[in-house]
Symmetry: C2
Subunit: 335 residues, 2 copies
DNA sequence: ATAAGCAATGCAAACGTTTGCATTGCTAAA
DNA sequence: TTTAGCAATGCAAACGTTTGCATTGCTTAT
C-alpha cells in the first residue's frame, strides 16, 4: 500500500488539507510547513492518487483516442502511429493521459461508453468513425471532441484538423513545373471522397495558375494507365508526368512505365502523396508530397485541450501544410 | 450532470447499496426491485462512474501500453498498430481499458508515473523500453507486466511474448527447399540482437535437417551482396536463394539482383521476414515469413490480464508461430 | 410453538482527494 | 486602542461507489 495524503499529514502533524494545498499550490502556506511536507512526501515516496483527485474535481485529465480498427490499411496505419505519439506527447506536457479505444462501424458503443462513463474529458477521433448519432450525443453533452480529417457534415460546428490537401496538390504541380515538366496528370482513387476532391481542386487551380489548359484528372485503373501510356508513346497525348494520390497507385504506375520502357524521370515524372517509408528505396526514389503526421496529431491534441479548458469556445479547424520531398522520380532538369 | 446511483435509489425508493448490488449482481435481490431499478437506470440514462468504482475497489480496470516513441522506424510501427488494436480488443472484452504512454530512453519517468500513481493495473511494454531500474520497480511493487519481445535478462522471471523467430527461420528454409532451391543464404542486420540470433539458430538447424552443409549466414551490406552475386555468376559460390531478415534488406537484394540481371525466382529465390504491405506489390511479389502481430498483441493482453487477476502466478512466456506466405519470388518449381 | 436459517434490504464507513467555511493570531490602518 | 484585513491552517462535507454488519420478516425443521 502506498502512502496517502493522510499519512503525510500525520507524519508532519498537520491537516490533510494543508498537504493538499502544498501539492496544488492553492493557498499560501508558511515556508516552514511547506518544507516539512515536501520532505515527508519524498521520504514516504508519496504519489497522489489520480482517481481520488479526479473523482472530486470532476475531470479525469485523460483524453480518449479512437482507433479505426476496421481500417486494415497498414499504409495509413503506419502514418497514424506518428499521430498517436504526438497526441500522447502533447497531452502529457499538459498533464493529460491518453486512453485508446477501438472503433468499428458495426459497433460505436465503445465511444459512447467513453463519453457516458466520463472516463475521459474529451476525444480525438478519425473522421471515418464519426456518425451522426455520435455527434448528437457529444454535442448534446457538451463533450469536447476533435476530428482528424475534414468532415463532410456540420464542418462549421465542430473542431477538426486535416492535411491541407489542396495546398499539397498545388505544391506537387509546382514541383513538376519547376522541374520543367509541362503537362501533369492527376491520378486519384475515388473522386468523391472529400480529400480527393480537395486534391483535384488544388491541382486544377495550380494548373490554371501555371497556364496549363484543361488539366486532366482521372480515376486510376490498371487498364486505363496502359491506355494512357500507349497514347503517350503514339504521341496522341502530351502528358509528361503523373501525380499519384497514394502509394499503391504510384507503385502500379511505376510498374506500368517499366513495362512500356518509359524512363522515369527523363520521359515521365512521377510524384505521389503519402510519404511511405519504402518510397525512398524505390527505383527511382520517389518524390512525394509529405504530410507531417506528427504535427497533425499534435495540433489535434492542442486543439482538444483548449476546447476542454474552455479557452476555445467556438469550433475551429486547422490545416496542416504539406511539403514536397524531391527525390529522383521528378529530376528532369539537373540542377 | 449525469445520474448517480443515489438518484436511482431515490427514484425507486431503496438504498443506494441495493442499486449497487443489482448492478454488480453481488447479492440476491427480489425480482420486483431488480425490475424497478433496471427500469429507473434506463430512464435516467444511468452509467456507473468508473472513477468512484475504482477508488473503492482499488483497481482501475485499465492497462498501460508503452509505445516506443524513439522508434522512428515506420516499418515496425506499421506492424505495431495491429498489436495495439488486438490489445485494446482483448482488454475490452474483459472490461479493461487501455492507456498509452510514450517512452524514450532519455526519460522513463512516464512509465514510473504510471506505476506509482496506480493509474493502471498492469502494463505491456516493448522489450527495448525495459531497463533494469524499471524491472526492479515493478517487481518490488508486485506490479504485473508483460514484455513484447524476448528479453535478454531475467527471462525466466518475467512474462513475455515474442515471435517464434527460430521456427520462422526454419520455415523459410523449408519453403525454399520445397521449391527446389538447394542452398539458401541468410542475410541479417546485426548478429547480436536476440531475435537475429534465434533466426540464425533456426536457419542452421533446418539446414542441418535438410542435409545442407556449412550453411552460410552473413551480415548484410550493399558491397557484400554485390560480391556474392559476382561469385554466383562466376560459379564460385553455389548460393541459389536468400532469406532476408527484413524488408529493407530484401529490397536492396532485389535491386542488386536486377542490376546483375539475375532472374528471380528462376535463378535466385528470395524470401524475407516482415510482411510489409508493399511486399505483394513488388516485382516479383515477395514471399514472406509472416508474423501475426494481431495475435501477438492479443496474447500479451491475455497474459497480462491473467497476471493481474492472479490466475497466472509464475512468469510465463509465449511464442507466436510464424507462417510462410508464398508469392512469386520463391516459385522455382511450378506446381 | 419455537428456534434456526435465509432472503432481502438498510446503514454507515471507507476509498483518497479537494474545498468552502471557519478559526486563530498577527499586522497595519484609523 | 480598537478594528479591519490577511496569512496560515483546521474542520468537515463532498465526489460516487462498494461492502461488512445489522435488521427485518418469512420459511422450515424440530
Amino acid at each position: 500500500m502506498s502512502a496517502t495524503i493522510k499519512d503525510i499529514a500525520k507524519a508532519v502533524g498537520v491537516n490533510p488539507s494543508t498537504v493538499s494545498r502544498v501539492i496544488n499550490g492553492t493557498a499560501s502556506i508558511s515556508e516552514e510547513t511547506r518544507e516539512k511536507i515536501n520532505q515527508a512526501m519524498k521520504e514516504l515516496d508519496y504519489h497522489p492518487n489520480s482517481l481520488a483527485r479526479s473523482l472530486v474535481n470532476g475531470s479525469t485529465f485523460t483524453i480518449g483516442l479512437v482507433i479505426d480498427a476496421g481500417n486494415k490499411d497498414a499504409f495509413s496505419n503506419a502514418f497514424f502511429i506518428q499521430s498517436v505519439i504526438a497526441i500522447e506527447t502533447a497531452a502529457q506536457t499538459k498533464g493529460y493521459s491518453v486512453l485508446i479505444t477501438n472503433h468499428s462501424l458495426s459497433d460505436s458503443n465503445n465511444i459512447k461508453t467513453l463519453v457516458q462513463e466520463r472516463k475521459v474529458d474529451g476525444i480525438i477521433l478519425p473522421v471515418q468513425c464519426m456518425t451522426d448519432e455520435l455527434i448528437c450525443l457529444m454535442t448534446a453533452n457538451k463533450f469536447p471532441f476533435v476530428v482528424m480529417g475534414e468532415p463532410q457534415l456540420k464542418k462549421e460546428e465542430i473542431f477538426w484538423v486535416d492535411v491541407d490537401n489542396e495546398q499539397g496538390s498545388r505544391q506537387a504541380v509546382d514541383c513538376l513545373i519547376r522541374s520543367a515538366y509541362r503537362r501533369p496528370m492527376l491520378l486519384v482513387e475515388d473522386k468523391k471522397t472529400i480529400f480527393e476532391s480537395k486534391r483535384i481542386k488544388g491541382f486544377e487551380r495550380e494548373c490554371e495558375a501555371k497556364g496549363i489548359q484543361s488539366p486532366s484528372v482521372h480515376a486510376f485503373s490498371e487498364e486505363r494507365i496502359d491506355e494512357f501510356l500507349n497514347e503517350i508513346l503514339e504521341g496522341k497525348r502530351d502528358t509528361d508526368s503523373f501525380i499519384c494520390s497514394n502509394n499503391i497507385i504510384a507503385y502500379k504506375v511505376l510498374k506500368a512505365l517499366k513495362a512500356k520502357k518509359l524512363d522515369v524521370p527523363r520521359q515521365i515524372g512521377v510524384i505521389t502523396f503519402d510519404n511511405y517509408p519504402l518510397a525512398e528505396y524505390m527505383e527511382p526514389a520517389l518524390s512525394v508530397v509529405d504530410v507531417d503526421t506528427y504535427k497533425m496529431g499534435e495540433t489535434a491534441a492542442e486543439l482538444l485541450l483548449k476546447a476542454i479548458s474552455g479557452k476555445e469556445k467556438k469550433a475551429k479547424s486547422q490545416l496542416i501544410e504539406a511539403k514536397i520531398i524531391e527525390r529522383d522520380s521528378t529530376r528532369l532538369k539537373q540542377k
